[in-house]
Symmetry: C2
Subunit: 356 residues, 2 copies
């Protein structure tokens, strides 16, 4: 059954009032504050209908109405109009992100701070990770006698290294030749390509360094494996600014859920399923998580290059300003892709100052 225009207008008015006040909204208030040209009594009738249809709930008989999850869903899908950030907001956001970052971890934690500051909600930022990557290069270097550093670079631009000890009589040349050998043998391979047969060939070719090769290859495989998307949470305490979390037990339940990163990253994984647009909104129980029953999750997906993907998002009360959150996330998301691209794949060729 379709909603009449009048019902839509009333539903929208109720949801928006509720979003801004967090109080159940009554017919009288709608009649007074919104120019619908209707009396409270009429609105009352419509509200009764909307409740019957499942768009509204009533906390108790003598309170006003609040949106149901179905109501929010309808609002988000059909009623919400895009919110445009003001030029001021945009430029201040841009400015706050326009600084030099030197480490990945720093970017991620700063961005999560920015998101939570802008939205006033707890923010989530996932480290970029690749589903399936190929080896771009593996190198070993002798740091000093007995101490070797393995450096692995994947085609996603991710660099990792590990330090191992070897016996003292291994010198620069040996390391270099192994390094050279492995590099030519393995470059371009994905984890799946490390077949027993191929490994056998490698071990045979350099039989005397078997143990050492094994360690290196193990590490390479580890780097090529599905890297978990590590996740940062910023401004978790922001949730306490919302009246729905005045209750200390609710607050504790939510915060201890959020405290465990794996909870959040599992939830993010679920939330991405079957979503093709770049922004996904999960309302209350749609998140599939009990501790999130009073909150919504808004997530944007970013890409760096064509291999690395990650997500940023916020968690807020179901009663949140979705429109504003969505536009803020979109803006930050774009900027983040840029920053990470520069960082992981080097400066843009065009204004390249490192060439010579």
């Amino acid at each position: 059954m379709e909603l009449s225009d009048r019902k839509r207008a009333i539903l929208q008015a109720i949801i928006e009032d509720y979003i801004s006040t967090a109080e159940p909204v009554g017919s009288r208030n709608i009649a007074k504050n919104h120019d619908l040209g209707l009396s409270a009594a009429t609105i009352r009738n419509e509200m009764a209908d909307l409740e019957e249809m499942g768009y509204l709930d009533k906390p108790h008989t003598s309170a006003g109405r609040i949106p149901s999850e179905m109501g929010y869903r309808f609002y988000v899908d059909s009623l919400m109009h895009r919110y445009s950030l003001t030029m001021d907001e945009i430029s201040s956001l841009q400015r706050s992100m326009d600084r030099k970052y030197n480490q990945l971890e720093n970017v991620i934690s700063e961005i999560s701070d920015i998101i939570s500051k802008v939205t006033n909600y707890p923010a989530i930022v996932e480290l970029p990770a690749a589903q399936k990557s190929r080896l771009r290069n593996v190198r070993m270097m002798l740091i000093e006698k007995g101490s070797v550093l393995i450096v692995v670079v994947t085609d996603a631009g991710v660099v990792r290294n590990r330090h191992i000890n070897v016996s003292d009589n291994i010198d620069y040349e040996v390391i270099d030749s192994i390094s050279e050998f492995l590099s030519t043998q393995l470059t371009g391979l994905a984890a799946d390509d490390f077949t027993a047969a191929r490994l056998m060939l490698i071990y045979e070719a350099m039989a005397q360094y078997g143990e050492f090769l094994k360690v290196v290859i193990e590490f390479v495989l580890e780097c090529l494996g599905n890297s978990e998307n590590r996740v940062y949470i910023g401004g978790a305490s922001n949730i306490l600014n919302n009246p729905e979390f005045e209750n200390i037990d609710r607050a504790r339940e939510f915060l201890s859920f959020i405290d465990r990163r794996e909870n959040v990253s599992n939830m993010l994984r679920l939330s991405g399923e079957g979503v093709d647009e770049s922004i996904s909104i999960k309302i209350g129980s749609e998140t599939g998580v009990e501790a999130m029953r009073d909150t919504s999750l808004v997530v944007a997906s970013y890409s760096v290059g064509d291999k690395l993907h990650g997500k940023i998002g916020i968690i807020g009360p179901k009663r949140m300003d979705y429109a504003r959150v969505v536009s803020s996330l979109e803006l930050i998301n774009g900027k983040l892709s840029e920053i990470l691209g520069r960082m992981l794949y080097g400066e843009d060729r065009k204004d390249d100052k490192n060439g010579f």
Copy 2:
């Protein structure tokens, strides 16, 4: 003025009762539950004295007494007896830390989880960092045409890398020779040794690669600079389990303080001043932080090798089980040094499986 043995015993009884119940303790309870051989009235008199001397506070006339900060301080310094973890506790702790860690960030976040699980308080873990380090090695490698990776290793065992783009006509040999050159020129230097004169020499020797060298050297300096001690916080929501944080405003104040890493790391810095023992306890206002007025900070310092230092600790209500916290932290602290040592400086030579 010295405290009589009887006063000490009473003070201790009061503090320990308060620690376990979180309720102001009255004279009757002390008389009943502790075998001091004194009547409530006598204890009442002693309590009045202790209050006058500043060791106890009274929330209001008709409540029992609670320890003042001075009381806690005296308890921690003179009354507290060491708590020994049971064998069970120890072995379960050992077990939970005995797994293979592959990335520094993982160790840190797992350890903070373990601390907060064991103590039931919010945990703090600082990444190990060096005050002043020397360059152990710098290398460049051509990942593919136009793309160079710089790898820097400091004598603290820290490895960092950066990716930069260069023009396409730079080949393997060029990179190798620059790498070789810089490595011999810079190895062993600290940030202070990068004098203008020395840099001039380097630039002159390889004038045609000036821009490139500049980028590399900037990066090296960045790696040698005082690395901030980045800090992780685990189980922040645990603080809500304590009755002193039933009040949502207190909880919010505390949690939003904790939410900002720089707050915590500043506080840690302060807390280390002038402390030579390995465990430092700051009670309430001793932390120097308004938001911590109801909480205490217990911190242990660890070292990896002789260059890297960091801290682990917990934040709990002033009314916390200091003895138990201290022994847990000591145990975890030792284990953490071990884990990090293995990780950053390679496996122990003795059971070295990588030699050949």
